[in-house]
Symmetry: none
Subunit: 255 residues, 2 copies
């Protein structure tokens, strides 16, 4: 297999599954670290701050500098700052998103009556009142921005509702089309390219989820590697009209 | 306009909007009462008991006997009893639905770990945990039954999320098709016909929402009157392939 200058990994389903590490991926990243090859962790998870994600990765034996972690929360905060500088925002989300927006200079603790942007990330305490407020704000003209459009995510109990479920609910009630920043939007890969100056053909996106990870790489225009360790099975991937560059069982196949 | 023996009204968006009465509709019902013409209130609202709905109507100056009120909560409880007699059920909803299910002999206060049916009606205290539990129960095989499929309903503040929004969320996460009992299903009009013995051409269904009220009448096979006082605008109605019998701005037009 071709060697790349920058390996971009999805996290959940690719590097770990819930509380379990995926050994082949961890071995692969260790090898990149030993060989001083660049790698990035590109996750739609908006609930955790980079430091919290660092701790999660440390639990699987991965020592990763903060600046190698790109979450949909960070990308969303940058997106909102670029497109709606100094706007009044209303946020539904968790630590990761609040932290990222504050870092970009937004006030997130005020109850804005007429926000210009409603930003939504996964919030395990979301309730009717929060959704109703978001619906009303969007009907009054606020732009609806979601960190990611995942309808569901796997857990030990089965699939649980993902952020995309709630953003779609608000969008349907308010009759608008939301903007989603996370994968499959190419925004996070674009930011990595801009910051490090790679050519697209020097980058590869690696992930288990066809609809987010693989399409993100395809939309961006770099090579992609599908791993059969999470949401989308290899069988399902082979039926898609747009194919990833490589399909592997796990990353031991290409070490 | 043709005179009917039985006028069936939707409530929210037709007789009132949130806490505001719609004067033209209230005048119209007063006139029916004076002329001793039958009328019924046929609502997808599952949150209130018939007595609570009576109180709401009294606030708008309408004195309506309890037996003239048909709610999706009452219809759903009957449906679940017919199809899943003595089943273990898990309920998300408000007073109206709990009350109706208890009347049909169901236990609604126990936390069922493996319910056979998940019944969902509007719940203004719905939250992530309730939705997650419903998603898991349905993935484990429970049938998903919704009182009504309204995605949204009008309020003074704008559209707010309706029960259909939450049932669809659970259905999408669990990858199932739900059953809906309220309008546009013709069940409630069928019950009125059965109880009073009208011919279908003696009945008319009046409402603001094309997708629930008007389609309910069309599915049932009676005449329909669309009023431009709520969810669906006349402009939107005119683009539908199946047209209501009449389209009016409000009920003053036909008094």
């Amino acid at each position: 297999m071709k060697q790349y200058r920058a390996y971009c990994f999805d996290l959940d389903g690719t590097v770990y599954r819930g509380t379990e590490g995926i050994d082949s991926a961890i071995r692969f990243i260790h090898k990149l670290q030993q060989n001083k090859i660049d790698y990035f962790l590109v996750t739609n998870n908006s609930s955790k701050t980079p430091v919290q994600l660092q701790t999660t990765l440390a639990n699987f034996g991965l020592d990763v500098p903060e600046e190698r972690i790109y979450s949909s929360a960070l990308a969303t905060a940058k997106y909102v700052n670029q497109h709606y500088r100094e706007a009044k925002i209303h946020v539904i989300g968790s630590d990761g998103l609040f932290h990222a927006l504050q870092k970009e200079g937004f006030e997130t603790d005020k109850e804005e009556l007429n926000p210009e942007v409603v930003v939504m990330g996964i919030d395990r305490t979301i309730d009717y009142m929060k959704l109703a407020k978001a619906c009303v704000a969007v009907q009054n003209g606020a732009q609806l921005v979601g960190t990611n459009e995942d309808i569901k995510f796997p857990s030990e109990l089965g699939f649980l509702p993902g952020n995309g479920s709630f953003v779609r609910l608000v969008a349907n009630v308010a009759a608008v089309e939301p903007v989603f920043v996370g994968k499959p939007s190419p925004v996070m890969l674009q930011v990595i390219q801009d910051e490090y100056g790679y050519h697209k053909d020097e980058m590869v996106m690696i992930g288990d989820n066809y609809d987010t990870d693989i399409l993100c790489g395809i939309h961006f225009g770099c090579d992609t590697i599908h791993v059969n360790t999470g949401v989308t099975s290899t069988e399902q991937v082979l039926q898609k009209p747009l194919q990833p560059t490589y399909c592997v069982e796990d990353l031991d196949e290409i070490s």
